[in-house]
């Protein structure tokens, strides 16, 4: 078994919110005990709705938020609340592609500067080498060399996302976290970017964490999938297990919610979730999903279910994980 590139062990990120005078200080458990690992060259899909903590988890993985509890190991670098990461070393290991291609590029920097500055910062000072790597990277993401001196506003959304991808890959990282990389793009452009990401993954031997709410995209690109709900992973397994044999009712609800005109009959009404995600400030007792769950019984409000194994590598945090429907 290959060594993990990234492993999270019981990672938690909590925030103190509120005011000591008005209403008191509460703890927001944005990420509450996540255990995950990503191997070199692998794509892990991370699924969840807004408020589930995936953005906070992303920031923690990027080393931008210190963990409150637990540890993280990034390519041999051990990180915890007490030992902050070496940011330069992190930068050469983990990079990120952002959702919004409009806000994620500095409007006052040309493509060349956006790509060349990080190289110089990381000690590549030879002018020709910098230039060669910039042009090579641009070619890899499908941009022409003569576009190097243009500003972001001269590009379309899809092209901007290509620049964003080039920036993430310019330091030759091993792991790239893609945060909803296509959801802000025009529908007819999405396939181009998904294909590009997959090509680059093979070409450069990258590992991805693909955060998306679009299950079609996640199924298409992922080797393994983790489903997150209110700060915790509720189901995790190979893509086929998650999509063909989901064991957590939340995963089923997500799949049932996809409007798919080809399988309209296959959506069973009772798989759908009711209501909306609770606040992480005040999660429901027991299993956090219980107020929305069609399978809810007394035990669900009493205790949080164990993250038990369904089959090797496939785990679900549900008291009824043995039920197939």
């Amino acid at each position: 078994m290959a060594e993990s590139l990234l492993s999270l062990d019981d990672l938690a990120v909590h925030f103190k919110v509120g005011n000591a005078l008005a209403g008191g200080i509460k703890t927001l458990k944005a990420v509450d005990g996540v255990t995950l690992d990503v191997k070199p060259g692998e794509c892990l899909g991370l699924v969840g709705e807004s408020g589930c903590g995936k953005s906070t988890l992303a920031l923690a993985i990027m080393g931008l938020l210190p963990p409150t509890r637990g540890t993280m190991n990034v390519d041999g670098q051990q990180i915890s609340g007490a030992t902050p990461p070496d940011r330069m070393k992190m930068a050469r290991t983990v990079q990120m592609v952002f959702q919004d291609p409009y806000a994620s590029l500095n409007p006052r920097q040309t493509v060349r500067r956006t790509l060349a500055d990080p190289l110089r910062l990381h000690g590549i000072t030879d002018k020709e080498e910098v230039e060669a790597r910039v042009i090579d990277m641009m070619a890899k993401v499908g941009l022409r060399p003569e576009q190097a001196d243009r500003y972001p506003h001269e590009f379309s959304g899809g092209q901007r996302q290509r620049i964003g991808i080039a920036r993430a890959l310019i330091l030759k990282p091993k792991l790239v976290l893609c945060d909803e990389p296509v959801s802000a793009l025009d529908v007819s452009i999405r396939a181009q970017i998904i294909n590009l990401l997959l090509e680059l993954k093979d070409e450069m031997g990258l590992a991805y964490i693909m955060i998306s709410h679009d299950l079609g995209v996640v199924e298409h690109v992922s080797d393994r999938v983790a489903v997150m709900y209110l700060g915790r992973i509720v189901e995790q397994g190979g893509w086929q297990e998650i999509f063909e044999n989901p064991r957590h009712p939340y995963t089923r609800a997500l799949i049932a919610a996809i409007p798919d005109p080809f399988h309209r009959a296959a959506i069973s009404a009772d798989a759908k979730a009711r209501g909306e995600i609770a606040s992480a400030l005040n999660p429901p007792p027991g299993c956090h999903f219980n107020p929305r769950c069609p399978l809810k019984t007394d035990i669900c409000t009493a205790e949080y279910p164990a993250f038990g194994e369904v089959s090797p590598g496939h785990r679900a945090a549900c008291h009824f994980r043995e039920r197939t429907q």
């Binding site: 990027m62 330069m88 990120m96 959702q99 919004d100 994620s104 590029l105 500095n106 409007p107 506003h153």
Partner: protein, 284 residues
Amino acid sequence: MSLALKLPRLRLKGGTSLWVGGGLVAIAISSAILAPWIALTDPVLDANLMNAELPPSWEFPFGTDAQGRDIYSRIVWGARVSLSVGIISQICNSLIGVTLGLTAGYWGGWWDDLVSGLTNLMLAIPSLVFALAIMAILGPGLVSLVIALGLTSWSYSCRIARAQVLSLKSQGYIQAARILGYGDLRIMFTQVLPNILGPLIVIATLGMGGAILAEAALSFLGLGIRPPFPSWGSMLSEARDQITTAPWLSVFPGLAIFFTVLGLNLLGDGLRDYLDPQSTTRRG
């Protein structure tokens, strides 16, 4: 200050406001630099009571004052004081304000609380009163005037800078820079600052107008430039009693202030458009 803030922001098409504003400011600056050559008489020594309070004529294009000195020459020389006070004090204000605002907005925490508290304190005390206090300690004169005005009205640029940083901080490209290993200062000066320059330049140009007016007020109170050396403000103040009998005494220094402040406002507006890479009117 009120004059500068109430001026309408003229929006002329294309780069017109840049050129008109730049032209007005250039006239003011060049007259300050070229004062020894373009002034007709010495602004201080050429007093002649025989010529006192003459209306504008071919000999004295802007008329003369109570001591018979040529108003035109005094305005040309006075530009040196007014502009250097305006520009230097505003550079000080911008440096202080932007540095405090950038760091406070970016780092947050106790430093932000401290800076915000200080800013509110500065805003609560009228800056003119603050400047008065400093002048009282340092004594009158050009240098103390610049120091007094340069230390007292940074709160506007500080607030603007801080608010802009807060709204930019969560933008993807700032995050991306952190992920790429950029240090905090590098992010502040290469990623944040270029993107918030527009409003800061506008504030700085408005502030220059304000500083020119504040100089006038302080000079009037006898704390600024000492007579007989001219500044626009002191000329305006001295002319108050004769506003009905010899209006040219106040009209011409007033116009000088008005056109310079207007020029600065237009220039600020034009610069903002010019500096914005998204602006389609850029470079023609």
